[in-house]
Assembly symmetry: C2
Homo-oligomer: 199 residues x 2
C-alpha cells in the first residue's frame, strides 16, 4: 500500500511561532516537503528558480490565473504570488505531504479548489503571550503590535474554518501534535479505501 500525500495548510497570527513548530515537526520526516510559490518578483542573487520560487513574467502569471493553474494567488507590494497546482499535485501523487504556510484568505481559496486539504490553525496560548512575543521580537512599533493583536482577534473569529487548532504553549508538544496530524491524515479512510476494496 502506498498512500497519496496530503496538502497541509497552516495559518496563524504573526507571533504564534509557526516556523519553529513546523521545522521541529518535519525535521525527522522524509514524507514532507514545502510548497514552492510562483512569483512575478525578480529573483535575488542567491535565489534559484524552482527552489525558493518559480519565477515567471507577469503575462505568464496572468495566464496561469486564467487557466486555473494556481490553487490561490495574491498581490503583495506590486508583485504577484501564487501556489502552482501542478507542482503540488505532482508531490502528492509521489506520496509527499505538502506544507503551505498561508493566511486565511489564501486558505479559503485553496479550500475551494482542493476541499480535502487539511487546514490547521496555530495559535499562541493567550493574547498576553502573543503580545509578549511580538514585543520580544523588537521589530514592530507598539502601534504595529496593536494592529497585529487586532488582526489576530479577527482571525480567531474565523478559526472554525480550520480542521485543527494547535496551541503553541510548548514548541515541542505543538510540533508533536502537527506531526501526529500529518500521520493521522494519511490514515484517512478516504485515502486508503480504494486500496482496501482492491484486496
Amino acid at each position: 500500500m502506498s498512500d497519496k500525500g496530503r496538502l497541509i495548510v497552516l495559518s496563524g497570527p504573526s507571533g504564534a511561532g509557526k516556523s519553529t513548530v513546523v521545522f521541529k515537526a518535519v525535521e525527522d520526516r522524509k514524507d514532507v516537503c514545502f510548497s514552492i510559490s510562483v512569483t512575478t518578483r525578480k529573483p535575488r542573487p542567491n535565489e534559484v528558480d524552482g527552489r525558493e520560487y518559480f519565477f515567471v513574467e507577469p503575462d505568464r502569471f496572468k495566464e496561469m490565473v486564467a487557466n486555473d493553474e494556481l490553487l490561490e494567488h495574491a498581490e503583495y507590494v506590486a508583485n504577484s504570488y501564487g501556489t502552482p497546482r501542478a507542482y503540488v499535485e505532482k508531490q502528492l501523487e509521489a506520496g509527499m505531504n505538502v506544507l503551505l504556510d498561508i493566511e486565511i484568505q489564501g486558505a479559503r481559496q485553496i479550500h475551494e479548489k482542493m476541499p480535502d486539504a487539511v487546514k490547521i490553525f496555530i495559535v499562541p496560548p493567550s493574547m498576553e503571550e502573543l503580545k509578549r512575543r511580538l514585543e520580544g521580537r523588537g521589530t514592530d512599533t507598539s502601534r504595529a503590535i496593536e494592529a497585529r493583536l487586532i488582526r489576530a482577534r479577527q482571525e480567531y473569529a474565523e478559526a472554525d474554518f480550520y480542521d485543527y487548532i494547535i496551541v503553541n504553549d510548548d514548541a515541542d508538544r505543538a510540533a508533536q501534535e502537527l506531526s501526529a496530524i500529518i500521520t493521522a491524515e494519511r490514515c484517512r479512510a478516504s485515502n486508503r479505501i480504494q486500496w482496501l476494496k482492491n484486496l
Copy 2:
C-alpha cells in the same frame, strides 16, 4: 487549555492484530483508558465489578436500554453486553480518551448516539496474510477460518463507514499511526474552538 477526551471506536477482522497494536499504542500514554462494558453475565472468580465489567441483573440491563443509558448493546451466548454512556462521558469530561474494541454493528450504534466518536478500522495487509495469521493461531478449524475470511470481506465492503484505516503490516508502525490519530483528534477545531473564542 484542557481538551475533552475522544471516544475511539476500533473495529477490524479477527486476525488483524488489533490487541497488539492497541497495547503498543497506549503503553506510554496516560490519556487513554478502555471502556468497561455492562453485562448480565455472572462474574468469574477473579473478576471485579467496575474493573473487567459492570455486572448487572437482566432487569437492570433492560432498564438501561429503555432509558438510553447504553451507547450500544448486543447479545452473546444468552448474555447481554453494552457500553455505559455515563461511564464513557465521565472519562471524556476528565480528559481521557476512551478506547472501545467492537464490531461494525456496535460501531454503527455508537455512531448514531455519539456522532463525533472517532471510528478506526484495522486490517491486515492482505487476505493471504489474514489467512496465514488465522492458521498460525491454531485455534480454528479450516472451515471456521474460511468463515472468518468471508466475514472479513463483508466487513471490508462497509469500511467507508470508518474515519481511518490502519494497515497492520508492522505492529510498531500501526501503533504509531493509532497513537497519532488519538493525538490528532484531540486537536480537532471542534474540540478547541470554544477555548479559542474565550481568549
